[in-house]
């Protein structure tokens, strides 16, 4: 893809457990274009959180590489990686457990600046004030503790902290999932503003498909450690190619009693990652599966510009009945 800030190539992470090896992320490749937001969706256990962390090398990958602005993160030594960390940050899901309860907000936001020895004490204070105001808080909030804030405000503190080192790339892991909808909308709009103002590049990990459609330029659907489908959000939501994407979309409850979605329900649960199905990992729950699906690991099949589906039946299903009636 032209001008990709982040290029993920064959990234793999497996964990050894007493019961065997778990491939949490299995041979995943994609690009994140500079200045855009890429959404990563999937059910719990799909590997999306692990992918977010392996990609930042917060967890060491088992194989593959993340190329950040031309440099392979997995080849950097500790010192080089530390310098690189300034350019990429993460925002977590739970704004309670990710903020140190014993530090004042000012110290929390300034922590990265201190760690990387940026500016004088006075510079740092000015920077904290500017950051708090940028995320919609007030300067005097720096003297308070995290418990004095509501959930939405705490998430803003987490965002201010992530922005402190002026990163180019942010991974947001379920960063609005714990918030009430009215507050969630505030934070989503803040992320959109920040993207515009700072030309931020973002990987937005979420289980809420509607939120991802709203926020993200590109969407990646994951299942059992693998990409099922990737594409520009508009194309992927309007014309989902992979049966898993179609099932996910048709499962979203639509806030309109007059428009009950025609459901194509998935049966059962996501299989154990300890013993993933052979061939296509989705085939055990797939309404379209053929015998062949157990033998072939599906290659990406193009469904349009930058839109790929990892399903051997992609072509055959070119005119499906759309599971959701878009207005």
């Amino acid at each position: 893809m032209p001008d990709a800030l982040v290029q993920v190539r064959n990234l793999t992470k497996s964990f050894s457990t007493p019961a065997g090896k778990v491939h949490a992320v299995n041979d995943v490749s994609f690009d994140i274009p500079r200045g855009s937001i890429t959404g990563l969706v999937g059910e719990s256990g799909s590997g999306k959180t692990t992918l977010g962390r392996v990609l930042l090398r917060l967890i060491e990958p088992t194989g593959g590489s993340t190329i950040f602005d031309g440099q392979d993160l997995n080849r950097l030594d500790a010192r080089e990686l530390r310098d690189m960390r300034k350019r990429m940050q993460i925002i977590f899901q739970d704004p309670v457990s990710s903020l140190n309860p014993r530090l004042k907000v000012g110290a929390i936001v300034a922590e990265g600046l201190v760690a990387h020895r940026v500016g004088t004490r006075r510079d740092r204070k000015d920077r904290v004030v500017a950051l708090l105001e940028e995320v919609g808080l007030q300067a005097d909030h720096m003297h308070r503790f995290p418990h004095e804030f509501s959930g939405g405000q705490r998430q803003r503190i987490g965002i201010a902290r992530a922005l402190a080192l002026e990163p180019e790339f942010i991974v947001a892991d379920e960063s609005v999932s714990a918030l009430d909808v009215s507050i969630q909308a505030q934070v989503l709009n803040l992320l959109l503003d920040l993207r515009e103002r700072r030309n931020l590049t973002m990987l937005f990990i979420a289980h809420d498909l509607s939120v991802v459609e709203y926020l993200c330029d590109q969407t990646i659907v994951m299942y059992l450690g693998k990409i099922a489908e990737i594409g520009p959000s508009q194309a992927l939501y309007r014309d989902p190619a992979h049966p898993y994407t179609q099932a996910l979309l048709s499962a979203i409850p639509i806030p309109d009693p007059a428009r009950h979605a025609e459901r194509s329900h998935l049966k059962g649960d996501i299989p154990s990652p300890l013993s993933p199905p052979s061939g296509c990992v989705f085939r055990t729950r797939c309404p379209m599966a053929l015998d062949e699906c157990s033998r072939t690991v599906p290659p990406p099949i193009s469904r349009g510009s930058h839109h790929e589906s990892y399903c051997i039946r992609t072509e055959a299903r070119y005119e499906p009945t759309s599971p959701i009636q878009h207005p």
């Binding site: 009215s182 939501y237 499962a251 409850p253 329900h265």
Partner: protein
């Protein structure tokens, strides 16, 4: 319409701490018709869970019903006032007449007992069945909630089941004595969207087959639209709007309801079109504004909104607690 299964009238609940007390529910009224589903919808702190705990007699010790009435119509037709009912009397009706399922099935099931024993315990308490008959009935329930290979799951422990299966077990446990009222408190919030769809389908089917009434507590307007016949929207301990689901979504008439609907990203919306969030945050229960609790966040608010506002009929079957209803509704 037949007599309601549950009627809550002007319910007020206070929570005391050592130094002060706060009002968590203020003058809440709603009724749930037989065989219908009423959704209580609202954000954190709106009082929807306190409402359900009050009905079930499960308020924590520092919580107290200080006003109003909760009337339950028993399976035998008799009316029973639930406020003031002793814990002993409650034990006879909980599980048998009314049941509850919770958000987190893992923490509401006992990890030390098998699925079969836990469901069987309900029958031990509320029926005369012997052990073999109980086991048969439990198996029947597990099959009813579509647990695959149900017979082999009787002796499973909760940790051996997935989240969706655990919620099915909770539903089996809640319904094994055929209660007339099921209170479902965010039953699908912790589940993945595909599993949520399965559980919602299951609940709809069971309601159709068993005929119970459901009080469905949720923050998700999408789930409300799928499940509810009637809706009551709660904000800061009061009901701000109530109507049939069709009417509420077609003519949302309280500024909060509108704000809530405008905050949700919907599938297929125009790219670039921004969500309109509700500004500010929910007021703390200990620092409620005078008059309408929503006024500080409301774009329509005026001088009169500082006066107390009550839920009034806007038109038939559609109640709104707002001085500006006419202006708001006229601005569709």
């Amino acid at each position: 319409m037949t007599a309601p299964v549950l009627e809550v009238r002007n319910l007020t609940v206070d929570f005391r701490s050592r130094h002060h007390s706060v009002t968590a529910l203020r003058d809440v009224s709603f009724s749930l018709g037989a065989g219908r589903t009423l959704a209580l919808v609202g954000e954190s702190g709106s009082g929807k869970s306190v409402s359900s705990l009050s009905i079930m007699g499960l308020l924590p010790r520092n919580g107290e019903i200080t006003g109003g009435a909760i009337v339950y119509r028993r399976k035998n037709g008799g009316e029973l006032a639930l406020n003031g009912l002793s814990q002993r009397a409650y034990r006879n009706i909980r599980g048998a007449e009314m049941s509850m399922i919770f958000q987190e099935p893992m923490s509401s099931l006992n990890p030390l007992f098998t699925v079969g024993d836990q469901i069987g315990e309900m029958l031990m308490l509320h029926s005369d069945l012997d052990a073999a008959a109980r086991r048969g009935r439990v198996l029947e329930m597990l099959e009813l909630v579509e647990i695959p290979a149900a017979a082999s799951r009787l002796d499973s422990y909760p940790h051996e089941l997935s989240g969706g299966m655990r919620q099915r077990v909770m539903i089996a446990l809640a319904l094994v004595c055929n209660p007339a009222l099921l209170i479902a408190d965010e039953p699908t919030t912790a589940l993945d969207v595909t599993i949520q769809a399965q559980i919602l389908d299951l609940m709809r089917r069971l309601q159709h087959e068993l005929g119970m009434s459901i009080l469905f507590i949720t923050h998700d307007m999408g789930v409300v639209a799928e499940m509810a016949d009637d809706v009551a929207v709660m904000y800061a301990g009061t009901i701000v709007e109530s109507a049939t689901a069709g009417d509420l979504f077609a003519n949302p008439s309280h500024p909060y309801t509108r704000g809530l609907l405008n905050s949700i990203p919907r599938p297929g919306r125009d790219p670039g079109q921004r969500l309109v969030p509700i500004p500010g945050t929910v007021p703390s229960l200990s620092a409620m504004p005078p008059g309408c609790a929503f006024a500080p966040r409301c774009g329509w608010a005026g001088e009169e909104c500082r006066k107390p506002v009550v839920l009034e009929a806007f038109h038939t079957g559609h109640d709104v607690a707002c001085f500006k209803t006419r202006e708001v509704a006229g601005n569709a």
